[in-house]
C-alpha cells in the first residue's frame, strides 16, 4: 500500500518537474552559449578576462537584436582546470541547459575533454585554448573550431623574430607538460632551421617554482637568449630567480607568449626588457579601428582595459552569431559549414580567417617587450609593441601534417 502511494507520488512529481521544460520548448527560446572555463585555480585571472570578453560579445549581439531574432544567453561554468569537471559541465550545459553552442576551455587538456562531449552531441564548439592537437586528427571534427593561437604558431613566430633580432644561441627552459613540450620542440626546430644553436633544453615540473637548481649551469653556458616556456605563476618565480642571479644582464630574455595579467602581477621590475608574443594588446587601439571600438566598449563596461585571452572569447561569440545568421540555423553542422564557406572575419584586430581543412583560425600576432619601471603608462601599460607579424598559413602545420587528407 505504501509502495503504490510512493510510486504514484513520484510519478506525479516527475511530471511536475518535466512540465516547465515542455512549456519552454513552445515559446521563442533564447540562444544559449555554454562557456566552461577555469574560474578557480591558477589561471583564474585569464579566465576572468575571457568571461568579460564573452559577456561583451553577448551584449553587442543583443543590442543588435540577438541571433536570428532570438536573445543570446551566456552560461558560464567553472571547469576548475580539471578535464572530468569540464566534461561534466559540458554535459550539463548540453543536456540540462540545452545550449546550442559551446565555446571555451583555457587549459588544453580540459578543452579536449569538452570537445569529446560536443563531438558526441554534434554541438558546435569553438575552442579558446592553446593547443596543437585540437585542430588535428583524432581530436578534430567538423564541428570543432579553434579560435586561439597554438604552440606551433607562437613558437614559430616568436622564434623567427628572436633569431632575426636578439641572437642565435639559445637556452630553453620549459614546463614538462604538453604545452611546454610542444613549444620547446617548435622553438628548437625553428632555431635549427634558421641556422642557430640550442645550447641546452631544461624541462621542469609544471607548478614547481624551484629553478635555482638549473641557473648556474645556464649562466656557465653563456647563451645569447634565454627562452622561458614558463606559464602563469611559474613565469614570475622564474624571472625572480633569474634576476636574483643577475642573469638578465648577461643574456636576453624571451618567451613564446606574454600574459598581460601575469605581467601586471609580476610588475615592471621583473618584466623589463622581456620579449614575448601575444595575440592582442589593448594599446593596439592606437593603430587598429576595430581594436579601438573593442577597447572602448570593454573599458566602458568593466572599467579596465581588455586583456589578451578575452578577445578569443569575444570573437568566438561573434563567430557563433555570424555562422548562425549565414546558415539561418543553430544546428552545429550547418553553422560549421556556413563558417567554412565564409571564412573571413574581423571583429577586433584585423583580418582573421578559418582554414577549411582543420577549422583553424589564422590571425596576426605581435611581439611585445616589457617597459622599464619609470616608463609604464598607468596600471596596464606595461608592454611596448615592438613588431607586428601578419598572419600566414605557414605559421601553423599543414593540413597533411595534422592528419587531414585532401
Amino acid at each position: 500500500m505504501n509502495r503504490r502511494v510512493f510510486l504514484t507520488t513520484t510519478a506525479a512529481g516527475a511530471a511536475i518537474v518535466a512540465f516547465p521544460a515542455v512549456l519552454r520548448a513552445q515559446t521563442k527560446d533564447p540562444i544559449r552559449i555554454g562557456f566552461p572555463l577555469p574560474l578557480t585555480g591558477p589561471f583564474a585571472a585569464i579566465a576572468g578576462d575571457m568571461k568579460q570578453g564573452a559577456e561583451l560579445g553577448v551584449d553587442v549581439l543583443n543590442a543588435k537584436g540577438g541571433i536570428l531574432g532570438r536573445k543570446v544567453e551566456l552560461l558560464v561554468r567553472d571547469d576548475q582546470l580539471k578535464p572530468q569537471i569540464g566534461a561534466q559541465r559540458t554535459q550539463e550545459l548540453i543536456e540540462k541547459e540545452n545550449c546550442q553552442f559551446i565555446i571555451g576551455g583555457l587549459a588544453a587538456h580540459v578543452q579536449m575533454a569538452i570537445n569529446e562531449q560536443t563531438k558526441k552531441a554534434k554541438v558546435l564548439f569553438i575552442s579558446t585554448s592553446q593547443s596543437d592537437e585540437i585542430s588535428a586528427k583524432p581530436d578534430t571534427s567538423p564541428v570543432t573550431f579553434h579560435e586561439a593561437l597554438n604552440p606551433t604558431i607562437t613558437s614559430r613566430v616568436v622564434g623567427k623574430w628572436v633569431m632575426e633580432n636578439l641572437g642565435k644561441k639559445w637556452w630553453i627552459v620549459y614546463a614538462d607538460y604538453a604545452w611546454g613540450k610542444q613549444n620547446n620542440l617548435v622553438l628548437t626546430e625553428t632555431n635549427k632551421k634558421l641556422g642557430g644553436t640550442v645550447l641546452g633544453s631544461t624541462p621542469y615540473p609544471l607548478g614547481s617554482a624551484e629553478f635555482s637548481a638549473h641557473l648556474p649551469k645556464i649562466q656557465a653556458a653563456k647563451p645569447d637568449v634565454l627562452m622561458a616556456v614558463t606559464p602563469g605563476a611559474d613565469d614570475i618565480a622564474f624571472l625572480k630567480q633569474v634576476k636574483s642571479f643577475g642573469m638578465h644582464q648577461q643574456m636576453k630574455l624571451a618567451k613564446p607568449l606574454h600574459w598581460i595579467s601575469v605581467a601586471k602581477q609580476g610588475g615592471p621590475e621583473l618584466y623589463q626588457d622581456v620579449y614575448g608574443g601575444i595575440n592582442f594588446y589593448w594599446e593596439l587601439q592606437d593603430s587598429i579601428p576595430e581594436a579601438k571600438r573593442y577597447v572602448d566598449a570593454f573599458q566602458k563596461k568593466f572599467s579596465i582595459p581588455p586583456g589578451d585571452y578575452g578577445v578569443y572569447a569575444y570573437s568566438a561569440v561573434l563567430e557563433v552569431a555570424r555562422g548562425s545568421e549565414l546558415a539561418k540555423s543553430t544546428d552545429g553542422e550547418k553553422v560549421a559549414d556556413a563558417l567554412r564557406k565564409n571564412p573571413t572575419y574581423s571583429h577586433v584586430k584585423g583580418k582573421q580567417w578559418w582554414r577549411a581543412c582543420d577549422n583553424k583560425s589564422f590571425q596576426d600576432m605581435w611581439i611585445l617587450k616589457g617597459r622599464a619601471p619609470g616608463q609604464t603608462k598607468g596600471d596596464w601599460g606595461l608592454l611596448d609593441v615592438v613588431a607586428r607579424v601578419p598572419a600566414t598559413e605557414d605559421m601553423d602545420r599543414t593540413c597533411a601534417e595534422k592528419g587531414h587528407t585532401a
Partner: protein, 294 residues
C-alpha cells in the same frame, strides 16, 4: 650528461640545503604534532600558505620584513591553537583517522578562503633590499636571501632543541611523546601540552611559509604539493622522531636538488621512490618507533 663543473655542483648542494631547510621546518612541526598527539595534520600545507600570506599583509602594513618574519609564524601558531581547541580536541578518543580527515577538509577550506581574500593569482613578496643581491661564495654567486633562509632555519632548530632539551616544558613534551599515559598519570595536564605543541608545530609551518614566500611568491595552492612532500619526509624520518625529521628533511632536500640537476624529469617522482625504498628496509622510517599509529 650536462657539464658537471664542481662549482655548479657545489651551488647545487647549497640549493638543496635551502630546500632541505623548508622541508625540515615543516617536517619537525608535523612530527612534533604526530609524536605527541598521534594526529596527522593534513592542514600543515595550508598553514604554510597562510604564513606566506600573513607575511605579505604584515610587510604591506609595516614595510618591514623582519616584523613579518617574527609575527607571521606567531599568527599562524595562534590560529593553530584555535584549530586544536575547537576542531581537534572534540575528536579525542575517536578513530585515529578522524583528525587526519578533519584536517584534510580544513585544508580545502583554508585554500579557498585564501583565494577569496587575496585573489586567485597570488601575490609577490619581495625580500628586503639588504638581502636582494647575491653573495660571492668563491665557487659561484648565490642569492643572499637563500643563505639567509639556511641561517634562519639553523637558528630556529637550535632554539627548538634547546627548548626541548633544557626547559621543563620541553621535558614534559618529550616525555609525552614517549608515553602520554604515564605523563598524565604523573599529574600533568596533557591537554595543555597538546595545545602548546600544536601551536608550536603550526607556527613552524607558518615560518616555513614566510621564508619561502620571497623565493616563490605566495599563492593559495602553494601548500598543496608541499604537504605531500612533507609527509614523505616525516615518514622517511620516522613518524614522531624529531631527529629523524631533520635528517630526512636535509637528505631529501639534497636528493631533490641533485635529481633536478642530473635528471630533471625524475625530480617529481624521486621522493616517492626514495620513500618506498626506505620503508622497504626500515618499516618505521629511519628513526621511527614501531607501534605508533598502527
Amino acid at each position: 650528461m650536462p657539464d658537471i663543473s664542481l662549482a655548479a655542483l657545489a651551488a647545487q648542494v647549497f640549493t638543496g640545503l635551502v630546500l632541505g631547510g623548508i622541508f625540515v621546518l615543516l617536517a619537525v612541526g608535523l612530527s612534533l604534532i604526530f609524536g605527541l598527539m598521534t594526529v596527522v595534520n593534513f592542514s600543515h600545507g595550508a598553514l604554510y600558505m597562510l604564513g606566506a600570506y600573513f607575511g605579505f599583509v604584515l610587510m604591506g602594513r609595516t614595510g618591514s620584513f623582519l616584523v613579518a618574519l617574527v609575527v607571521a609564524p606567531l599568527l599562524v601558531g595562534v590560529f593553530g591553537l584555535f584549530v586544536e581547541r575547537f576542531l581537534i580536541r572534540p575528536l579525542y578518543g575517536r578513530s585515529p583517522d578522524d583528525p587526519l580527515l578533519l584536517t584534510f577538509g580544513l585544508s580545502l577550506v583554508l585554500v579557498e578562503v585564501a583565494r577569496l581574500i587575496w585573489g586567485k593569482i597570488g601575490v609577490t613578496l619581495d625580500p628586503p633590499r639588504a638581502l636582494a643581491g647575491a653573495v660571492n661564495l668563491g665557487f659561484t654567486y648565490f642569492p643572499s636571501y637563500r643563505l639567509f633562509v639556511i641561517a634562519v632555519t639553523a637558528v630556529v632548530l637550535v632554539a627548538l632543541w634547546l627548548f626541548l632539551e633544557k626547559t621543563n616544558v620541553g621535558l614534559v613534551i618529550r616525555a609525552g611523546s614517549r608515553d602520554p599515559m604515564m605523563v598524565r598519570a604523573l599529574g600533568f595536564d596533557v591537554g595543555r601540552i597538546w595545545f602548546l605543541v600544536f601551536g608550536i608545530g603550526t607556527g613552524l609551518a607558518g615560518l616555513a611559509g614566510i621564508l619561502a614566500g620571497p623565493m616563490r611568491g605566495a599563492y593559495a595552492e602553494m601548500g598543496v604539493t608541499i604537504i605531500i612532500e612533507s609527509f614523505v619526509v616525516v615518514v622517511v624520518g620516522g613518524m614522531g622522531s624529531l631527529l629523524g625529521a631533520v635528517i630526512s628533511g636535509l637528505l631529501i632536500g639534497q636528493i631533490v636538488g641533485l635529481t633536478t640537476f642530473f635528471a630533471p624529469k625524475l625530480a617529481e617522482i624521486i621522493v616517492f621512490v626514495f620513500m618506498a625504498l626506505v620503508l622497504l628496509f626500515r618499516p618505521s622510517g629511519l628513526l621511527g618507533e614501531a607501534g605508533l599509529l598502527e
